[in-house]
């Protein structure tokens, strides 16, 4: 007796073919992506290129793989120093969003400049039209430090800090060039390149709720009990705040719930501050893991405590196990109630420990890359602008 008849076999084959075709449907990436700038925007879209972008519906999910190059024009009468674009995924979780910022720019009125967005998104397939991803303008900073934009991501503060750092570092390199000539500048840049290459590198992960997702490959038998670790502090002589005491809970490669006491040393009130968070591991390596920002109402010469519930995890890129031994904090930036900003001086950053820990400013990173790619002559031309 035959177990399958011919029609049954044909039906099976058809079913298999149908199932295979249902798994992957190619969508139009252009209709999945929308750029939406306000009518009075000082930045306008000249063109955009979606290169090898693709949007695919697979099973119950849709995957967008976007490799886009935007060409924007400065339509204002002022030079642009930085731009932040807000990337919003349709129906994404409340607050789930991304941004692409381009600091250390110098775009004259009428000039064009490119911005790259390389994005990958996976989300359930839901009914309803509209683009999967929208790109909005969050902010533009001009050379006179004026700002345009909705500022939903506090772009004004971050773009201004990057611009202040750029001015500080350009001034430092220009003074070095004037005082000690191109050879001294070259030595300084070579040292900067070496620092970039020698910086220890870790992957970092953070959760706001104090619990991090368990990694898929984590052995179930490893359990490290929580312990309280006291912060030590790097003191910057020109910092307007002093960090006096601090605690966090540490377990293996995770640190959570930092709490730091702060004293305002100035006769001006402070509304926002950002502390640098350095982690020292059991084998003696130190990493700048991240920052601890806080909106505060800190009166002149007053005290406050910054407390956060977040949990942070460090993972080595070489696969070796990271065990946190100690925590170090320092003042990273301060915004006073009158809107003025403080950043560490170049002299403070000359401290060997801080120089090793702190990444270069975006402008120093750009100048170092310019020197590496196009040599000293191109760098000197840039610094003389």
């Amino acid at each position: 007796m035959s177990i399958w008849t011919k029609p049954a076999a044909l039906a099976l084959l058809a079913l298999a073919a149908l199932s295979a075709s249902a798994q992957e449907t190619v969508l139009d990436p252009a209709s999945s992506f929308k750029i939406n700038f306000p009518a009075d925007s000082p930045v306008t879209l000249v063109s955009f290129d979606l290169g090898g972008s693709k949007a695919t519906a697979r099973g119950g999910a849709v995957m967008l793989d976007l490799n886009s190059g935007l060409l924007l024009r400065n339509g204002s009468g002022k030079r642009i120093r930085g731009v932040t674009l807000l990337v919003l995924a349709q129906d994404f979780t409340p607050g789930g969003r991304a941004s692409v910022a381009v600091p250390a720019l110098d775009v004259a009125p009428g000039e064009n400049f490119p911005v790259r967005i390389d994005l990958r998104m996976l989300r359930p397939l839901v009914a309803g039209g509209g683009p999967l991803v929208q790109v909005l303008l969050d902010g533009v900073l001009f050379d006179d430090l004026s700002f345009f934009g909705e500022n939903r991501l506090n772009s004004r503060r971050s773009l201004t800090i990057w611009e202040l750092e750029a001015r500080r570092d350009r001034k430092h390199f220009q003074q070095l060039l004037e005082a000690r000539g191109p050879d001294a500048l070259q030595r300084e840049l070579v040292a900067s390149v070496a620092r970039l290459q020698d910086r220890p590198r870790l992957d970092v992960q953070i959760s706001r709720r104090g619990t991090l997702p368990r990694p898929a490959n984590a052995p179930a038998t490893v359990y490290e009990p929580d312990r309280q670790v006291q912060f030590s502090f790097l003191r910057l002589p020109d910092a307007p705040i002093e960090l006096t005491n601090g605690l966090a809970t540490v377990s293996g490669n995770e640190a959570k719930a930092p709490s730091i006491d702060i004293q305002n040393r100035q006769s001006k009130a402070i509304r926002h501050l950002e502390l640098g968070w350095v982690v020292r591991t059991k084998d003696g390596a130190e990493f700048l893991a991240g920052t601890l920002p806080a909106d505060v109402q800190l009166a002149a010469n007053g005290k406050t405590r910054v407390v956060d519930e977040a949990a942070l995890r460090l993972n080595s890129r070489t696969g070796t196990r990271v065990v946190i031994d100690n925590l170090v904090g320092f003042a990273h930036s301060v915004e006073f109630a009158d809107g003025q900003l403080w950043i560490p001086s170049r002299a403070a950053l000359e401290d060997p420990r801080l120089a090793r820990l702190m990444p270069p400013s975006p402008e120093e990173q750009r100048l170092v890359e310019l020197y590496r790619k196009r040599g000293l002559k191109a760098l000197l031309e840039d610094l003389r602008k």
Binding site: L12, L13, S19, Y223, P225, L292, L312
Partner: protein, 193 residues
């Protein structure tokens, strides 16, 4: 003082899992050894802690169950086919190739479904297990990523670019790199809330 007992023996002692004689012997040692007493206390504290929800290993149970059911069905049908087998008549032999094709097709369907559920779903990072993972953001050499349930959003850093990664406790991950073509600096962020 007697040499310290093995750590495993102390762990068993803390859980009252040792034979009476060994238990008595270690008990005597603990009476005079603060180091081993501290180990035993640590083991007891550890065993007293509730097992956190997120300690459940990250296994995609649903696809596994689907795959197992499909394999069982295939096994039953193969068994039925073998028990009912007899030499085909010449007229039936004409359909043999069709039967073989059907077998291959159904096998492919089973393997394909298994792949789709087990591999493709894993690749898509859809949490098919019932464990609710907390939302988190991550900054690595390859970019910044936010994961919340079965939604993933990633801004990628082009390969082989020097990048700086950082996070902030307000739920932001940052990566900064130099564009190879333009020399411009690009800073990518993802935000939790």
């Amino acid at each position: 003082m007697n040499p310290h007992p093995e750590l495993a023996a102390l762990a068993l002692y803390s859980g009252r899992d040792l034979p009476l004689l060994e238990r008595w012997s270690i008990g005597r040692h603990l009476a005079t050894c603060p180091v081993c007493s501290a180990e035993v206390a640590a083991f007891r504290a550890l065993s007293a802690q509730p097992i956190a929800e997120n300690f459940v290993p990250d296994i995609a149970w649903k696809p596994l169950a689907e795959e197992m059911r499909a394999n069982i069905r295939l096994g039953l049908e193969a068994s039925e086919a073998i028990s009912a087998y007899r030499r085909p008549t010449p007229s039936e032999e004409r359909w043999l190739n069709w039967r073989a094709a059907a077998m291959v097709a159904s096998l492919m369907a089973v393997v394909g479904s298994g792949w789709w559920f087990a591999v493709s779903a894993k690749k898509l990072d859809q949490p098919v297990a019932s464990v609710v993972q907390p939302a988190s953001v991550e900054a690595t050499d390859s970019g910044v990523e936010i994961k919340d349930g079965n939604l993933t959003l990633e801004l990628r850093t082009p390969a082989s670019r020097v990048s700086f990664v950082s996070i902030s406790t307000e739920g932001t991950a940052e990566t900064r790199y130099t564009d190879a073509e333009t020399g411009q600096i690009t800073v990518n962020h993802v935000y939790l809330d």
